[in-house]
């Protein structure tokens, strides 16, 4: 398998999932951004207030705009600025989907070391995505 010049089937599947997932993510990101800056969707933090907030830390930004940590933004999904996270989250979550698919491929070919690595990676990324890891802030 490793002596082939062309990419392996598992690698090709990963590439295709990555391609279509990224495409969907980029389109969502651009559409929601348009709805946000044109004012079609009212934002959580008024646009004109942002220049006075973005000069300060993320902790102060969250407090000033009442932006919840972790996945709390889902409750504010109808707000223009928060809706932008749909596309961003698709892009950030894409690798988890690709790895799950990869793990299934390796299970089929019985490459258990690679299955283990792929599952561990899914766990690491899921932990990061869960919002459980909260730093102290400054």
């Amino acid at each position: 398998m490793y002596t082939q010049i062309s990419a392996s089937p598992a690698q090709m599947k990963y590439a295709n999932t990555m391609y279509y997932g990224a495409l969907i993510g980029f389109v969502c990101m651009l559409v929601t951004y348009f709805l946000y800056v044109t004012g079609i969707l009212a934002p959580q933090i008024p646009l004109e207030k942002l220049p006075t907030i973005w000069t300060h830390s993320a902790a102060e930004y969250r407090a000033a705009g009442n932006i919840p940590q972790g996945w709390g933004w889902l409750a504010l999904i109808t707000k223009g600025d928060i809706a932008n996270f749909i596309g961003i989250v698709i892009l950030a979550g894409l690798t988890i989907v690709c790895y799950l698919q990869l793990a299934l491929n390796f299970i089929k070919t019985k490459e258990w070391t690679m299955v283990g690595i792929a599952i561990l990676e899914v766990l690491v990324l899921s932990l990061a995505a869960s919002g459980v890891l909260v730093s102290g802030g400054h």
């Binding site: 651009l30 930004y61 950030a92």
Partner: protein
């Protein structure tokens, strides 16, 4: 070959040592001046507690209009309309994208020091946007690299696991440390990267005499068709354990500074592990889609991504990269590379000064 590896590793280690050495000393100094560092008071609307994180999201509706932000005297209020900086960022990132492609560096390594130095955004948001920029670039380039076998999934899997886990640690560390310490460490790192780019001479096809046991176990080998020469190039890795250990450091730094990590991935894969340059560059770019994902989640969950600035950055840099690829045929990459190294020296020094003045 040995000399090149040695020089690259010495430089990489010096960056790490500089970063680690700076942190405790500056942190100690920070303790004494903590009272002065607070330059802003945020007063939520009446009845709203100051820490929004403790609130249920549903109760926060329509509170934003009451947000009052008071700047202390001397800090100054930005008089520009809200669209000014995002628009400036779009054009700035467009130019950055062109330069980054022609200089052969990722966008993140230029984005963070330059935007934190010349734009009014807090470093938290610059790092969050920097990671999103690097992630978007990697997701856009990844499929093509994988399909052409210029990026190796088998090479990337073990490396990515280590780097992404450590990037989470780096991101948490970067968000927990005071901004001036991170700014100082960022300055030191950028100066180190500039030196690394200046002295490292990549090897197009390193010679690997014997594949080590770890490399065999992970299947870190392959072949690809080099379209520039028409040759079929076989490759395998050596010094795999040392390479994997270095990815611990690379992951931490990528997460801490939001820089992406192409500047470090390529020398380690190419010079240390013996991966051909094309596969090294391709796998490095693909790796960013995994390493930066884990760090990006931490920043995202902490509210460090402001869409109004992050999305123009992503769009600008991606459009710039497309134009950069077209201009590559007529440009003089060597001159641009030296120009970028000069810019990195300048922005690194500026980050250091900014950190000292905070």
């Amino acid at each position: 070959m040995f000399y090149t590896v040695k020089r690259g590793l010495v430089c990489l280690c010096s960056i790490v040592l500089l970063t680690l050495a700076c942190a405790p000393a500056i942190w100690a100094a920070e303790e004494g001046t903590a009272a002065q560092s607070q330059s802003m008071q945020v007063q939520p609307a009446a009845g709203q507690p100051a820490v929004a994180a403790a609130q249920p999201a549903a109760t926060t509706d329509a509170v934003a209009a009451d947000v009052v932000v008071e700047e202390t005297a001397g800090a100054g209020i930005d008089a520009h309309p809200w669209w000014f900086w995002p628009t400036a960022l779009l054009f700035f990132c467009f130019i950055l994208g062109i330069i980054a492609v022609m200089a052969g560096v990722g966008g993140g390594v230029l984005f963070v020091p330059l935007v934190s130095g010349f734009f009014p955004f807090h470093l938290d948001f610059v790092r969050g946007a920097g990671l999103m920029v690097a992630l978007a670039g990697a997701l856009a380039a990844g499929p093509g690299l994988l399909r052409r076998n210029f990026a190796s999934l088998r090479l990337a899997l073990p490396v990515a696991l280590i780097a992404s886990a450590c990037a989470i640690v780096g991101a948490m560390l970067g968000l927990a440390l005071p901004a001036n310490i991170v700014q100082l460490c960022l300055g030191g790192t950028i100066l180190g990267i500039a030196v690394l780019l200046l002295i490292s001479k990549n090897s197009v096809r390193p010679v690997v005499e014997k594949q080590d046991a770890l490399s065999i176990a992970f299947g870190m080998q392959g072949m690809f068709l080099d379209p520039s020469t028409g040759d079929v190039v076989e490759w395998k890795t050596h010094r795999t354990l040392a390479g994997l250990l270095l990815f611990i450091v690379i992951g931490v730094m990528a997460g801490m500074f939001g820089l992406g990590a192409g500047w470090a991935n390529v020398p380690v894969l190419n010079l240390l592990m013996g991966v051909p340059l094309k596969v090294g560059v391709g796998t490095s770019k693909f790796l960013l889609s995994i390493t930066d994902t884990s760090a990006a989640w931490v920043y995202l969950n902490q509210g460090c991504v402001i869409p109004l600035m992050a999305i123009p950055s992503i769009v600008g840099l991606m459009l710039g990269s497309v134009v950069g690829v077209r201009l590559l045929a007529v440009a003089k990459p060597k001159f641009i590379r030296y120009m970028v190294i000069g810019v990195l020296f300048f922005s690194g020094a500026k980050a250091l000064l900014k950190g000292l003045s905070m």
